[in-house]
């Protein structure tokens, strides 16, 4: 079902290692903490090694070293970027202003991309989609209107601290209950999804490892 492909000895060895790791993690659920902690260290170590390998083989060498080696004078932006990284690494020994420049560029660029995308890709299209409009059928129009009303009530539910009358307060309360109902439905789905993950591990042990499942 989900074991490693192939029937070579190395594949079988990998399946055994995966099965033992799965048993250790499930053992943590039953109270065996020492081996579980060891498995967490193993995961952290493997992840660190993998990240280092990925950074070297897919980022530093092909995107920095090779272009600079091929044309040292033709890529000033790479030299500039390398300089900023070096300054960031040397921040503890430099005046704060030097370290602030590359960090400001990194954080500012990240925030600008995220904020711009959120406005253009989420806020404006979702506002447009939340407006009630006439649809081809009466039912669809009613659903569209109901969706707009629910959206409005939930938004009102988020307005804390503003002056409220009885009607506005009732609308805010309705909005919060509607939101809670939505979160409840989602949590039900989430329970199902976590069960699926647990069942997948058990199916791996019984099927791929022990061969008890067809």
């Amino acid at each position: 079902m989900n074991g490693l492909f192939g029937a070579e000895p190395i594949d079988q060895l990998a399946t055994w290692v995966a099965a033992l790791a799965t048993l250790i993690v499930l053992g943590g659920m039953l109270g065996e903490r020492r081996l579980f902690a060891w498995s967490q260290h193993l995961l952290a170590g493997l992840a660190t090694g993998y990240l280092a390998l990925l950074a070297i083989t897919e980022v530093i060498v092909p995107r920095l070293v090779e272009p600079l080696a091929a044309d040292p004078g033709g890529r000033p932006e790479l030299v500039l970027g390398l300089g900023l990284v070096a300054v960031t690494a040397a921040t503890p020994w430099l005046p704060r202003i030097f370290g602030a420049v590359p960090l400001s560029i990194a954080i500012g660029a990240l925030a600008a991309f995220a904020l711009g995308g959120a406005i253009v890709g989420t806020l404006l299209p979702q506002l447009a989609a939340a407006v009630a409009r006439t649809e081809p059928s009466l039912v669809a129009t009613a659903v569209s209107a109901a969706a707009a009303v629910v959206t409005g009530l939930v938004v009102v539910g988020f307005l804390h601290g503003s002056p409220r009358g009885r009607i506005f307060g009732a609308a805010a309360t309705s909005g919060r209950w509607l939101m809670l109902a939505g979160i409840g439905g989602w949590l039900g789905y989430l329970l199902l999804s976590r069960l699926v993950l647990l069942i997948d591990r058990l199916a791996f042990l019984l099927g791929d490892w022990l061969g008890l499942l067809s």
């Binding site: 991309f113 995308g117 989609a129 699926v196 069942i199 058990l202």
Partner: protein, 269 residues
Amino acid sequence: MTDLTRRAPWLWRALLLLALALALLPTTDLLRLAGSLDAADGMVAIVDDLPPESLVLVGFDPDLGTYAEIRPTVRTLLADLLEHDARLVFVSLTPEGRALAIAERARLLASAVAPERLMDVGFVPGAEAALVSLARAVDGTGDGLVAGLPDEPFALGLVIGGNDIGPRSWVEQFEPRVVAVEIVAVAPTVLLPELTPYLESGQLRALLATPRDGAAYRESVAPTPLGDFDGPAPLAVLVGVLVAVAVLGFAVVSGLGDSLRSSRGREPA
């Protein structure tokens, strides 16, 4: 019973594991995980409408922890796309996604899929900025930061989500810049509330984001030569849900009993 639970606190958890394991053994057709097959209509229609030799950009960024939930659906969808003569171009924007993309691509290559149908752009670092570079490269206005893309138009963007850079990031960064390429997504349930609005607004053309939707999709498509990818056993899921409901019911009844006892204790004698 309380004494037993105190001596062996792991007993109930062990019994749950045993019950789930036993529920995996019998095979039955009486239970189905899929609800209405209509849930998968959007994805089926889009894949069916793809012309032969279409280029599909596969943004492969699932999360290691939740990938098992969507793995059978992802494998079925990739197999179905290849069955429709699509050519897949894998790209990952997160390290975890890259690891899983390597594994899935290797699995497909081991299943005798031709390498030219499974192109690999690799890992593109830079999160949202990388997605913008990717969009520009697909749009033909690239800055050269993303290399290895074929010089042909893409017919579809398929995002396998679960990680930080998932379908939402694609909708926010990629879709406004490359309007011609529609986006479909497969994502774990944890992303359902985040992604459903995009499906309703049409920014995502199709979405499979729950075990039920995934099962509906797997039942909707014909078996492919690459295999039949089973999801979780419905009987085991049923047993697990019943246990969860029983625990919830026990907690509610226990809470009611406690509040009743404390209110009686406050009554004057």
